[in-house]
Every structure is written in C-alpha cells, then in structure tokens.
Subunit: 199 residues, 2 copies
C-alpha cells in the first residue's frame, strides 16, 4: 500500500494489528468484514479506504504482520546462523516465541490457508515469506561450510531444506496437539542432524 | 458404516474411490455433492443411502481411503522399523509413493483441512490416523533401543516425534513447491539424525 500519509499508514497498521488480535482471540470461523469493523472500531468507509481490495487485502496485511512478528522473534540469530551457538540461540528463540502461542498461532495460519487457494497474490506472498526464511537458514549453513564448521561434503541448501521442513512440520504438529513439545523435538532433531556434519 | 450387505459395501467403496479420484483430478474448489454425484454416476437417493451424513460423511470416508492408501504404501517397512535397513526401505517407499503424486496429494489434504475445523468427528479421525502413524515409528525405535541399535540414552518417543514432524513438514513443503525434493531432504535428514544415536 503506497500513497498513504504517515498518519494514514499508522491508522492502517492499527487496523491490521487489531484485526490480527481479534482473529487470534476468536478464531477464523465466521470472520467477516463486518465483525472486523466492529471489533477494530473502524467505519465502513475507513475500512474501504485502507483496504480497497476488501477481505483479500486485509488477509494479506494480516499475513504480513504475522510474518514480521515471527521473523522479529528470531532476531538476532536468524541473520547470522553461522555458528553452533547461533543455531542453539535460534532454536531457543523459536521455542520461546511459540510457547503459549500454540493454539493462537493456528487461527492466523488457518485464515491464510483458507484464503490462499483462491487468491494467487496471497499464495505468492506466503511462498515468498517461506522462501526468504529458508534462504536465511541456507546462508548460515553456507558460511559454516566455508569456515569449516561443516565438512566439505555437506550440502548447505539441502540441509537447510531439511531443517525448514522439520520446523514447518514441528509447527503443524504443535498446532494439532496444542503442545510445544513436537516443535522442540523437531528443532532438537534438526540440530543433532546438523551437528553430525561437523568435522 | 455398519449394516451394509457385501454388495452395498462394495458400492459404497466404489463411490468413495471415484469421489477421491475426482477430487485428485479437479481439486477441491467448488466440490459439491451434485458434482460428486455427476462425476461418480451416483443417483441422489443412492448417495443419501450410502452417506446419510452428507458431505461430512463422504469427506470422512475419503480421508479414510486416502489414509489406507498412504499406510499400505509403507508396507512392509512401517510395521517393523527395527533395523537400519528397514528405515532406509521405509524412506524409499515413502518417496516412491509421493513421487508423481506431489500436486495431486494436495487436493485431498486441502479438502480435509477445509472440513475438519467445523467437523469435530473428522478432526478426531484425522488425529487418530496421525497418532497411529507416529506410534508405529516409535514402536520401531523402542525395539532398536532394546536391541542396542540405539544408545541407551536415546529417547525413542521423542525421536519418533522429530521424525514424524519432519515427515509432515516434508509433505507440506513438497505440496507448496510441487517438488519431491523437500520430502527427500527431510527424510534423509531424519535418518541422519537417527543414525547419530547408534552406539
């Protein structure tokens, strides 16, 4: 969204945050624009002004907000996964972020999964977030191979893909069991797997 | 579904199979009972006779059929994951099953994910399938610790959870990228992780 004044952008942000909180609290079932309007104390014309694309645009903004929260929670580790200490720090940061959020997290991803199949733009956006996340894991592992923390035969891109799949599966099983333990087991398993490539 | 004659059960099976094929071909969007009726050459009264619970019951039957296909594809390994050879055989069987099925698989799981949040019975059924799958992985790992193929400090239940999360995440990323490689990387990573617990 371009062309908004600073004040306009702040208002739009406020609506996105309030809508996200609302969905986290109430779940996605029956979530209509009217309910979001009521819940975020936004008038019809205001909502249309900030989200001319309707529900689709609002969901995209919510997905973006959720993504930025998840990525911020992994700072500073996610940008420098080039040491064993950083990987352990990252693992702990991910667990801390999702602990207590297990059930809530489900609502936003359910919303996105509901809308994405019929909204190619949102689907592309979600794939871009995932690809960027995966690339950050791979960048760290490439550096570790360069600095001989990983053996020369280690394939950083393939290892990153394995860690990323494990992370996503950990989140999925965490949601279905409403328990942080599957995510912790998945990440610990990934770190054990990575460590077996140390010289 | 009880109380059906052998012939009735066969007819019901035929409808479930045809509906599954239809969903695999056409995708889930706009999948209505009318379309399923047309596509499977079933009359309205026949469909109601075999699925008095409507779409919900049909989706449950489709999920059951899909589950039985996936589990059968892992035979004979899944029942005896108590050696390194069995784990490698299982890994290969999973990859063989999903190769070429990457995009198609998406449709059935999308259908189930769409219906499950508002259908507690289906949700319970899907969780039971997952739990049984996880338990089979754990059973094999328990045996391997008993027979000293794993070190005494290995925690078979936690390792099984890590492998299962990795498998589910591999399937998820496989679907979003329409590529078998993420699943292969995830399973290979899991096997590497398990092997690091050998004495």
């Amino acid at each position: 969204m371009t062309g908004l004044t600073a004040k306009g952008a702040a208002t739009r942000d406020r609506i996105v945050r309030a809508a996200t909180e609302l969905i986290l609290e109430r779940g996605v079932a029956g979530m209509t624009l009217d309910e979001i309007r009521d819940g975020t104390k936004t008038s019809k014309s205001q909502l249309f002004h900030y989200f001319p694309g309707g529900k689709s645009e609002l969901v995209a903004a919510i997905a973006g907000y959720q993504n930025s929260q998840v990525m911020a929670a992994q700072e500073p580790w996610i940008d420098r996964l080039d040491s064993w200490r950083a990987w352990q720090g990252w693992r702990d940061a991910v667990i801390t972020h999702y602990t207590g959020l297990t059930h809530k997290y489900c609502s936003v991803s359910a919303l996105v999964n509901e809308v994405a199949p019929t909204d190619p733009e949102l689907a592309t956006q979600v794939i871009a977030y995932a690809d960027r996340w995966l690339a950050q894991l791979a960048t760290g592992l490439h550096r570790m191979r360069d600095t001989k923390l990983l053996r020369p035969e280690a394939d950083p891109d393939r290892l990153a893909l394995a860690v990323f799949a494990s992370l996503q599966g950990g989140l999925l099983v965490m949601q279905s069991k409403n328990d942080i333990e599957p995510l912790a087991a998945a990440l610990d398993g990934s770190l054990t797997m990575l460590r077996s490539y140390a010289p």
